[in-house]
């Protein structure tokens, strides 16, 4: 670029001038990128700020208090946390085994022609808006569940097993919420399982095939151990989704902030308590307690998702540079 004495060509001059654009453009993109960071900081900050009154009033005891009485100004998060964790745990328990099996089928067993359409259908299950799940739960699933399962089971076993105690009244409750949530997180677990299983190198499969292993033995001894961390990660992602899911839970869990050992009784989750009460709060303490609850919910889901990403990343990373 030493052009001393030579007349600088027009195109060269243009190029030089354009090159000045590099720094501003990068700054522009960086600014917008950092707005994303700012958004996150703002959300946490606003939730921290908005929960000030409740944090001052209850401190960390908020997490262990069981009373939730807006009229008396009594707020404790334990029933909501209990309902959130129990309904999500039920969902995970119900969705994980079939979810992993679907992942296995899609990655290894399905005929190539069916793989695309089946994957699409499983993913569509994740795309249905959660309010529709809630509506289906109310109009179709709960009436069926109450008559065919909840009532007979609680009549037969309710006296001996406190988890199944009746009387079954409205039919809304923890177990129903757990089942609907299970349907909603099934695609997440299936899709992640499929993805981590399909990055298991072919040579690991063939090692076992060549020893005379059946297809299932290949899956059991080569694929699952290799992908285990990633599959657990998928389960944690599903758990994260269940923990934060609002509408379906709000509509089918019964919105009663108390702890009842029976899974047939109405309960609440953090998300559904917020959604059902925040628009109609009368006192600052009430809304502040709900914001505090949102903060707690955020931290719980953040924990689940961080573990999940770490685990999925470990498998994808170990599979070696295939992105």
């Amino acid at each position: 670029m030493i052009a001393t004495g030579q007349p600088v060509s027009r195109s060269h001059r243009l190029r030089r001038r354009l090159r000045h654009g590099d720094v501003p453009f990068r700054l522009l993109a960086a600014t917008f990128a950092f707005v994303v960071v700012a958004l996150l900081v703002a959300i946490v900050g606003v939730a921290w700020d908005g929960s000030a009154a409740a944090r001052e009033a209850f401190g960390l005891r908020f997490l262990t208090r069981t009373a939730w009485n807006p009229v008396a100004g009594e707020f404790g998060a334990l029933p909501a946390i209990y309902g959130t964790i129990v309904s999500s745990a039920i969902a995970l328990l119900l969705a994980a085994p079939p979810g992993i099996m679907i992942g296995i089928f899609l990655s290894d067993l399905s005929p190539a022609r069916l793989r695309g359409p089946l994957s699409l259908m499983v993913e569509l299950l994740a795309a249905i808006p959660s309010v529709v799940y809630g509506m289906w739960g109310i109009f179709v699933f709960i009436p069926f569940f109450r008559g065919a399962i909840a009532e007979p089971v609680s009549r037969a076993l309710g006296d001996t097993v406190p988890f199944l105690a009746g009387p079954v009244t409205v039919g809304r409750g923890l177990l129903v919420a757990g089942i609907i949530l299970a349907i909603m997180i099934l695609p997440t677990i299936a899709a992640v399982s499929r993805d981590v299983l399909s990055v298991v190198p072919t040579h690991q499969r063939e090692a076992l095939l060549a020893l005379g292993a059946t297809r299932w033995e290949v899956i059991r001894h080569a694929l699952l151990p290799y992908a285990r961390a990633g599959i657990v990660g998928g389960m944690m992602l599903g758990l994260g989704r269940a923990l934060g899911e609002t509408m379906a839970a709000t509509m089918v869990i019964g919105n009663t902030p108390r702890i009842d050992p029976s899974l047939f009784q109405p309960a609440t989750t953090a998300a559904s308590l917020i959604a059902s009460q925040l628009p109609t709060t009368n006192t600052e303490l009430h809304s502040s307690a709900l914001v505090y609850l949102a903060l707690v919910l955020f931290l719980i889901t953040l924990l689940a998702n961080s573990i999940a990403r770490l685990l999925v990343w470990r498998v994808a990373g170990a599979a070696g540079g295939r992105r």
């Binding site: 960086a30 958004l39 033995e217 628009p279 914001v291 903060l295 998702n305």
Partner: protein, 291 residues
Amino acid sequence: MFDTVANAASVRYRRRVWVNRLMLGLTIGSTAVALVPLVLILSYVVRQGVGALSVGFFTETFRPVTIGVAGGAGGVLHAIVGSALIVGAALLLATPLGVLAGIYLAEYRSGPAATVIRFCTDVLSAMPSIVVGVTAYVLIVQRTRQFSGLAGSIALAVLMVPVITRTTEEILQLVPQSMREAAAALGAPRWWTTLTVVLPAALGGIATGVLLAMARAAGETAPLLVTVLGNNQLTFDIFGPMQALPLLAYRYTEQPFAVLNEQAWGAALILVVLVLGTNILVRALTRRRAG
């Protein structure tokens, strides 16, 4: 025959074959069972929803229902308008932000800044939508003492940004490095290359990402519940309470009137068609490009 499997071969071998069949059957069964709720829910939505569809459903607004009085059902025009305005505004807010952040991550991908941004995008995308709604509530509704469509738009935009950013980043990375190098070899500065070479090549992909984010946002209910509140009147005022389709579906479901329940299913049908249609469309488009 080829029975070389030790001496206990027959029994053990038969058991292995049986376990194999059982487990493979279970994977097929699980896949089939997963499709049952999909089919059940979709068929129910369609059956219930189609009954609600009429000209009035799309052209009228809420008409009060009284017990024992038969009357016109009214329609959901106000919710359609509300949804369109709220999601539209969210789209305007989220698209430039998400796309530029995605460009930054794809074009300047290494370094601690990119790592921090990527981490924040991940956290945002995993954040429960109700938490985002609560933030918008505290920030806007509490300050202005007014539920508003705009507060809902902002909440939805926050939910859309990570989706758009992620897709943009992924799509831009698919643009062959050789294209960038060819432009660089001609002496084009980097930003020029990005804007005139890389971005146009990736435009279709970015558009599908925006489309998917929009479809997802259109079905979101929870953040709207605490920001937009709901409104039975047709309004174009985005600074006041509005109605939206998912919100209406939720509220009408909780009503004891069959007419309103039916309209809730109508609204659900519109949402499902919108969301699933977008997903299938995007899938078809990306497949054609890849193939």
